[in-house]
Point group: C2
Chain length 331, copies 2
């Protein structure tokens, strides 16, 4: 077996975010559950957009954010996900490649436009997302390069793909290519309402998952356990490594041998929690890929998450490698 050439390859939706600060009333007026993601069609997307104040556009997408975070930490990452050959796709491609992430999934030349996610950021810095999937929802098995997957220590799949009929084959190819090469597969639960909606598909996938990530609400949803410690113990029966984030209360992880918790990194200017979980995943997975102790993996995750919630947008705006070095965290 060849030596891996990448730390992590991530698989997910290629999305450009449209973010605006709004009040709680707007989220309620659209009947949205704060803190969750809702899939919307173009028409519904237009209705929500019309109600939003001026926004900013920045590249996003959960798994792509994680890949960008790994690159910013000094790791090597690739991303697999689908754009259209339109201006939004051009922005996504530019922003990801210019971070150093390997991104070679061919752009569609026909069909729906590049995905966009309308993100309502409320005064509590919580984000509520409305995703029009567009071309991102057409990722298929041909888009997954088995050699790319086989060359990465960890293949990380975003939970938003789980249960989408269109993504089923792509996921199967990725999981098989990783395991055939003796690599590990990681999954994030992504969103509590998505877990509830796609419970069967998640349950079917979990036995193939070597590293599971999620937040408290997602862990509660998949296990039925309201206590995060109990949820963590329950999940480690299926997945060898499990990490659960708890927002301002920090994060915990178990690898069967030890169970460890770390506090959240202090944040003075909490502005927008978009990307918090994605960037935690970046630090945690890079730590695992580099065979760091579990506590160091958690601390890298906490550090990356703290940077991204201190500004609007879900990608790092400063070198995470420099921040890690300042904290004495070696990559």
């Amino acid at each position: 077996m060849d030596e891996p050439t990448l730390d992590v390859v991530t698989v997910g939706h290629a999305v450009v975010d449209v973010l605006a600060h709004v009040d709680d009333a707007l989220v309620a007026a659209h009947g949205l559950a704060k803190g969750t993601m809702t899939l919307v069609d173009l028409e519904r997307s237009a209705v929500v957009y019309d109600s939003m104040p001026p926004g900013i556009e920045v590249s996003g997408g959960s798994a792509a954010n994680t890949a960008a975070g790994i690159a910013s930490l000094g790791g090597t990452a690739a991303f697999i996900g689908k754009i259209r050959d339109d201006f939004l796709g051009e922005i996504f491609l530019h922003d990801l490649r210019s971070t150093g992430v390997v991104y070679t999934t061919p752009a569609s030349t026909s069909g729906p436009p590049t995905a966009r996610c309308l993100i309502l950021v409320t005064p509590d810095a919580e984000r509520t997302m409305n995703t029009y999937l567009g071309t991102a929802g057409e990722l298929d098995a041909d888009d997954v390069d088995p050699a790319l997957v086989a060359g990465a220590r960890i293949t990380y799949v975003e939970g938003y793909l789980v249960g989408l009929p269109s993504a089923e084959d792509a996921l199967a190819v990725a999981v098989e290519a990783a395991h055939d090469a003796g690599r590990r597969v990681a999954l994030t639960l992504s969103d509590p309402s998505w877990v509830a909606l796609q419970r069967d598909a998640f349950t079917a996938l979990l036995p193939s998952v070597d590293i599971l990530l999620g937040n408290e609400a997602e862990a509660r949803e998949i296990t039925g356990e309201s206590d995060p410690e109990a949820a963590l113990r329950g999940l480690t029966k299926t997945c060898p490594v499990v990490a659960i984030t708890r927002g301002a209360a920090g994060a915990g992880a178990s690898d069967g041998n030890e169970t460890i918790s770390v506090p959240a990194e202090p944040v003075t200017d909490l502005e927008d929690t978009t990307g918090a979980g994605d960037l935690f995943a970046a630090g945690f997975l890079l730590g695992l890929a580099r065979e760091k102790p579990l506590e160091a993996c958690l601390r890298l995750g906490a550090l990356a998450a703290a940077e991204v919630i201190s500004h609007i947008g879900a990608r790092p705006q400063t070198s995470l490698a420099a921040l890690a070095s300042d904290k004495g965290l070696e990559i």
Copy 2:
């Protein structure tokens, strides 16, 4: 003559900005003069974009920024400028209308795409712009609604239109409609290198201009005077009201009766000077439209400029009306 229904109508390029923080070396590598605007074709735009780190996209365009600033100050404004019916155009339209600005110029359904401006922001917060004009460069006489212009106390034209053969007829219609209705025409010099390039067109237009705005470098370029006070005196021989901004040194204005200077508003977090002149114009012109004393007009301009340079992007991110009220400045 009917009472005016709007404070200001602004005419200019409809542009979405792509902003990224870069180092001085990148600006130099492209042979760009820091602090200026260069028109580029699509090919050249792609070359510059490829060299840029991840960016953010926000609506811009000099005159459109001014209209958004006037709306944020609590004034009434309209904008005339051309977009394509593409996603970038949709962003521009949304972001402007959601501020309350009247924007009715029909979008092109064919031809080049919506304009984009690649903005390199250096560590000194200075911005260097590369504009691909696209559809914005096709504004013509039919796009200018004489009734809209006649209904505004002031018609404000961005200097980037001056000397463009395509915009000549549109400018002539706007100036004539304003003066026929007994309204005032305002012009910004926009950019020192543009003034140098289009000197004859600017010189021909100045006798029709009732209110002239510019920064020191632009005033020096058009008058040949290196002393801002002398440039101000020289320009008031042609234009009844003249204001010259001097960056951190504040701004001065003359209306023939009095010549006044105000200091710059203190800014603790200077991040990106993009839009400083546009937002100064917003405050200054709204003050004139509401017949405020010259000093109050200058102070409103300084206040609006200070807000926009404290963050990335050229549109206000907080209510300028509230900021003005905090400072005891009545609109």
